[in-house]
């Protein structure tokens, strides 16, 4: 698995410079946050709690963006936008389920890349 399939490597280098010795800690924090968040997102999907799902996707979007995991951030944005501004009755739940599956898969990939490269 390649790092640049899942990360914006140029930005990542800058982030490493900024965080210095705290970079490892930051990555651990990111992984822990994701592991905590994803099951909650799944529960929200299953209970059709749209607001909560959107809030968590938004936050996850920001965090993954900040650690330069661009594809993961983009997937989260799709989840967020699948709910924002859409009337509750018109929410496309099957599509959201599909997107969340992609988020989970991408997060697994990110974790794997992190353990190999970072």
């Amino acid at each position: 698995m390649e790092l640049n399939d899942h990360f914006d490597t140029e930005s990542l280098t800058m982030l490493k410079e900024v965080m210095e010795e705290e970079f490892g800690e930051l990555i651990d924090l990111f992984v822990a946050d994701g592991e905590d968040r994803l099951p909650k997102m799944r529960t929200a999907l299953e209970t059709k709690d749209a607001a909560n799902l959107m809030g968590m996707a938004h936050s996850f979007k920001g965090a993954s963006g900040n650690v330069c995991a661009a594809p993961l951030s983009a997937l989260n944005m799709q989840v967020e936008e699948g709910i924002r501004g859409v009337p509750e009755t018109s929410v496309d739940w099957p599509r959201l389920a599909d997107l969340l599956k992609q988020v989970e898969d991408e997060f697994s990939a990110v974790k794997q890349v992190i353990s190999q490269h970072l």
Partner: protein, 573 residues
């Protein structure tokens, strides 16, 4: 640059950690909050200089927190920057509405972040400098207003002791807290004559008040001693010229109303045209300033020539400073001379004029901002004031004043033209306690005797001239011409007093260098017409009053001498 204290609020600890780290590395002091509520609390506690807020946060979102923080900050400028991503275009307007100053996109770019933080910090510093300066100016202004209010209060104390409340005066002065440069003074001479002065100093506040105070003091002090417009205006001019810096002056109109003689003397310098309204004919006479304002010329160059008017009961002077002409309506037009003239000529009757002017200016100004100094005065000719009843209680014990004395005072041609001896003479008389309460009557008697001796005797002017309006003007023209040409002549005043503490007798003797008149024939004629006490031809207007006050009035020699005897105490009326 010193460390900037920055508060950041983000519920996502990954984001918070990155942002905090970047800001710290750039030399700032970072305070972290996990939601809006904590952000507001920490804002109270730590007083950060800049606040960075995530928009979506649990418990309290960024917009709510921004609103509260801005409210707490009040006038202090605390930049609030929202943390968002380019794609979060939704709700940007909301963010600005809640008090946000800018946005910062995720993922964070350290260079952009630093530039933004510094630029907002500079803006905040600039804002603080401006506020400090504004506060300093406000304090300074407050001091200034306070000083000007004090100056106004002092001036009011000096100025408001006169007779502006007399029945024949109506006036309007702007009720501004700060002295606006306009002065309105009125007071009675001991004779009952009335002096009124309307002045307009250049400038406002303190510089104007500085000149107004000596003006008021001189006006009241000299009026109380019996001085008229000519002496007072000269003295005021001289004083103002001495104390005011070059370029500061006082435009003024001063009126002296003589109710016994039904006449008025007016001096005008630098004020716009004022009016004399003739009640009988309804005519309006324009009075134009013929002098420079007060305080411009030194005493040597100052011109005290007066405009003289012969008046009837109900005739009135309408006087103002330029404020009334420059009063503006909401459109910015000035009230002006034409409107003023129209209001006066269209007034239903003389007594309504003042009210109509006031009303018209008020209506004209409407809701326009009123910063004008509107000063307006009307003084009317009325019957002479009742001679004051003698207050016996004022007579003091025998030895408290001079009882047996005499003096003789002779004025030569140079003195006669420009010196009024009456205040000095009155001063001597007022030392006698029994005469003190008769000061008004005494002054009338002396003024009558002096002007007869001087004008009819020394100058040889014919009193009959004054009985027509044209003659009246002619009389004063001749008077001035003859004064200017006077190189010979005298008026001799002799006085003699005897008495004890309870009663006394004052003998006043005037002699002049004139040709006199056939007083024996006059007396015989008068005996024949005994019933007609107020014979105008013989007496002039002052004489009935003289007969009322004096025990005897007697002409002597060739008619160039007159002796009056006044006994005190007089019977109360």
């Amino acid at each position: 640059m010193a460390a900037i204290r920055i508060l950041i609020a983000d519920d996502n600890q990954v984001d918070r950690k990155i942002l905090g780290r970047i800001l710290q590395k750039q030399g700032n002091e970072v305070i972290e909050a996990v939601n809006g509520e904590e952000a507001v609390r920490l804002f109270h506690e730590c007083k950060p200089e800049i606040v960075l807020l995530d928009v979506m946060m649990p418990v309290m979102d960024g917009k709510q927190a921004a609103l509260q923080i801005k409210q707490v900050a009040g006038e202090e400028m605390v930049p609030v920057i929202f943390l968002t991503s380019l794609t979060d275009a939704y709700g940007l307007a909301d963010c600005l509405e809640s008090g946000g100053d800018d946005f910062l996109n995720k993922p964070y770019n350290p260079v952009v972040l630093e530039a933004k933080v510094h630029s907002f910090y500079r803006m905040r510093e600039m804002h603080q400098t401006l506020q400090r300066q504004r506060d300093e100016i406000a304090i300074h202004n407050e001091h200034l207003m306070h000083e000007q209010e004090a100056a106004k209060a002092v001036f009011d104390n000096v100025a408001h002791q006169g007779c502006l409340s007399a029945d024949n005066i109506r006036y309007l002065v702007s009720p501004l807290a700060v002295f606006n440069g306009d002065v309105l003074l009125a007071a009675r001479q001991p004779s009952g004559a009335m002096n009124l002065l309307l002045g307009d100093f250049t400038g406002h506040g303190l510089p104007a008040a500085i000149g107004a105070m000596p003006l008021a003091e001189i006006f009241y002090g000299m009026t109380a001693k019996g001085f008229g417009v000519r002496d007072i205006i000269r003295e005021v001019n001289s004083k103002l010229k001495t104390i005011l810096p070059v370029g500061f002056f006082c435009c003024a109109v001063m009126v002296e109303m003589n109710f016994e003689r039904k006449s008025a003397s007016v001096w005008m310098g630098g004020v716009p045209d004022c009016y004399l309204f003739r009640k009988g004919s309804g005519e309006l006479e324009v009075m134009t300033s013929n002098h420079l304002p007060l305080g411009v010329l030194g005493d040597g160059k100052f011109v005290d020539s007066l405009q003289e008017f012969n008046l009837e009961i109900g005739d009135r002077f309408l006087l103002w400073s330029d404020g009334i002409l420059e009063a503006r309506n909401p459109a910015g037009d000035m009230f002006g001379n034409e409107r003023l003239h129209d209001v006066i000529t269209q007034a239903a009757d003389a007594d309504r004029i003042f009210h109509d002017i006031k009303h018209a200016v008020d209506a004209f100004q409407g809701r326009a901002e009123r910063d004008d100094d509107i000063t307006l005065a009307e003084i009317a000719m009325v019957e002479p004031p009742q001679v004051e009843a003698l207050a016996r209680s004022q007579i003091q014990a025998a030895k408290s004043g001079p009882m047996d004395w005499s003096f003789s005072y002779e004025l030569g041609p140079q003195s006669l033209g420009n010196f009024n001896p009456l205040p000095l003479v009155m001063h001597l008389l007022m030392e006698v306690p029994g005469l003190k309460s008769m000061s008004g009557q005494l002054y009338t008697v002396l003024a009558e005797m002096f002007s007869n001796a001087f004008e009819h005797g020394v100058l040889g002017l014919d009193s009959k001239l004054k009985s027509t309006p044209d003659g009246f003007m002619e009389y004063y023209q001749q008077r001035q011409q003859r004064i200017d040409a006077l190189d010979d002549g005298f008026v001799r005043i002799r006085m003699n007093h005897e008495g004890n503490g309870l009663e006394g007798r004052l003998t006043v003797h005037f002699e002049d260098s004139g040709a006199g008149f056939d007083h024996v024939a006059m007396l015989n004629r008068r005996k024949a017409e005994l019933a007609d006490v107020g014979d105008q031809q013989y007496s002039g207007r002052g004489i009935p009053l003289m007969n009322q006050i004096c025990e005897s009035v007697e002409y002597m020699g060739k008619g160039n001498q007159v002796r009056a005897v006044i006994h005190w105490p007089q019977e109360q009326e």
